[in-house]
Assembly symmetry: C2
Homo-oligomer: 317 residues x 2
């Protein structure tokens, strides 16, 4: 195929498909734009959980057993931080901490997040473009009954327990990063892929950047999403809970499709949710039913090929 | 004994005696003032090598085999930092890094180095006062033939190879920290102890603070130094080289005594340097010849008692 693929990704689930796309596409044909709404400052470090998940997956450094972070991780610094009385609600592995350190001091020295991310991916031998959604600040906030919480306090600190009455984006309208804007404007753009990430928490922040939703809607290329649901449920994370709290009476893939609306024209769903296909097609969506749970690089690569096929760009393997 | 002991310390050697004094004296009778001239910023971390050496020694966390840093250290973050292309000339252990992190973010949040140090020592269960020499900035610089280098670049990066034509203190005259000033002004001050640290690099920065040398000279209490030399040579570090380059024609303990001048009235020297004792006494110094190499807490405690005895404050054990 020719043409450029723009993939929008959150953390772990999205990172798996991003790694599959990177395995299938040459570097010049892929831009992975990553959510930074969950980024936060902790112990003086700028932590970018979704960028790191994508970077670890593309570098082959991700821990596939634990499901997040770096493989062969150790926790010596964290144990010492606890002993020093520092906050221990967010677990920092030793190798992971090196990423945060390498990023944080360079941001403080004046590099943009795009520049730092390019530096880190380059150092780890990732030839594909991995770009933050913005070099500005757009922060995901969770409005609960009692307060408005930073995302990580809700997600990790409170383990998603408080009901999310609303999800807010502080800094909505922030400009897309240069690499994101460039990909959106490419004359050879061939498809947009919404990775199987949380629509509310991982994709919506990207869509809340200045002009992004409008630009995507106006694009004359296929927009393909992979559902993050398996058997009507989220593989991990708070998506299931959010769908219940925010699905507006719809369930499963109907809620996903309802949420994305005209933003997507093709949805890949898991075989276990085969029953959803008819209703989705009635909405006017093109649907592929396949195995969307990715256990390893073989699954990731196969699903990437199926995504490209759904976009009319490649035959399924 | 009653009365307060003020100990001035650099890194590893001084830290051993400081730990001995802490083992012998109750918390209210000891203030350890630590050199911060070697402190530096690295990868966004504020690193205080001498404070950490003293803190690790007093907390019993110091690595006695390697001779520096934390025991049972691991190096996962450092390996990852190298992989990310970050500077690798200064080795950061994982547990050590936690100290730097815990300190750096709080300094950036506005705490003084004194406050942060009190917090860290408190968290590690150290009941004695360990205070930085200053909360301001006094940086040790090494003037070589070609350039003026930050201390750590010379000490670690260049392994002390370039001849030190001069040692400069950028920020000389900075104010002593509150805890240091308080100890100097105590009516119950009973003795000043210059720990067996490098006179040029570890003690001189302390003396270069505003008013410190004058105040020490005017004190009517014993001022006791422990020589850092064993058999006329430094146990470790660049002292031997500096003595050759900067001893002004004197050697061994004569050079140490000549450098300190009227600042000390008692010097403890090692048995292996027994031959130096006569000349030192001719200078008007009171001299104790003993075993100054400290292999463990028993040695540290014994030497601490001998220091107190030399100050007329306690019988030798």
């Amino acid at each position: 195929m020719t043409g450029h693929i723009l993939a929008l990704s959150g953390g772990v689930g999205g990172a798996k498909l991003a790694a599959g796309l990177a395995a299938v596409l040459p570097p010049e044909q892929l831009t992975v734009v990553v959510n930074t709404g969950d980024d936060f400052e902790h112990l003086g470090l700028t932590i970018c959980p979704d960028i790191d998940s994508v970077v670890y997956a593309l570098a082959g450094l991700n821990d596939t057993v634990r499901g997040w972070g770096v493989a062969e991780e150790s926790w010596q610094a964290m144990a010492m931080l606890k002993r020093l009385g520092e906050a221990d609600w967010f677990n920092l592995g030793d190798r992971d901490m090196a990423m945060h350190l390498g990023r944080s001091w360079r941001l403080r020295a004046g590099e943009s997040l795009s520049e730092v991310t390019a530096r880190l991916t380059g150092a780890l031998g990732i030839p594909h473009r991995v770009v933050p959604m913005t070099d500005g600040r757009l922060s995901t906030l969770i409005e609960t009954d009692n307060e408005i919480m930073d995302f990580q306090r809700w997600f990790v600190g409170e383990q998603c327990r408080p009901v999310a009455k609303a999800i807010r984006f502080d800094g909505a309208g922030a400009p897309p990063s240069p690499g994101f804007a460039e990909a959106l404007a490419r004359p050879d753009l061939a498809a947009v892929v919404l990775c199987p990430s949380n629509p509310f928490l991982s994709v919506d922040p990207i869509l809340a950047l200045g002009g992004v939703r409008e630009t995507l809607l106006a694009l004359k290329v296929p927009r393909v999403a992979v559902s993050p649901l398996i058997g009507g449920k989220a593989v991990k994370g708070p998506l299931g809970k959010l769908l219940e709290e925010r699905g507006q009476g719809q369930e499963g893939n109907a809620a996903i499709a309802g949420h994305y609306g005209k933003l997507i024209d093709h949805l890949l769903i898991d075989r276990s949710d085969d029953a959803d296909a008819g209703g989705l097609r009635e909405r006017g969506l093109s649907v592929t039913v396949t195995d969307t749970l990715m256990h390893g690089l073989a699954d990731q690569t196969r699903l990437a090929r199926e995504v490209l096929a759904a976009a009319g760009l490649q035959q399924p393997a």
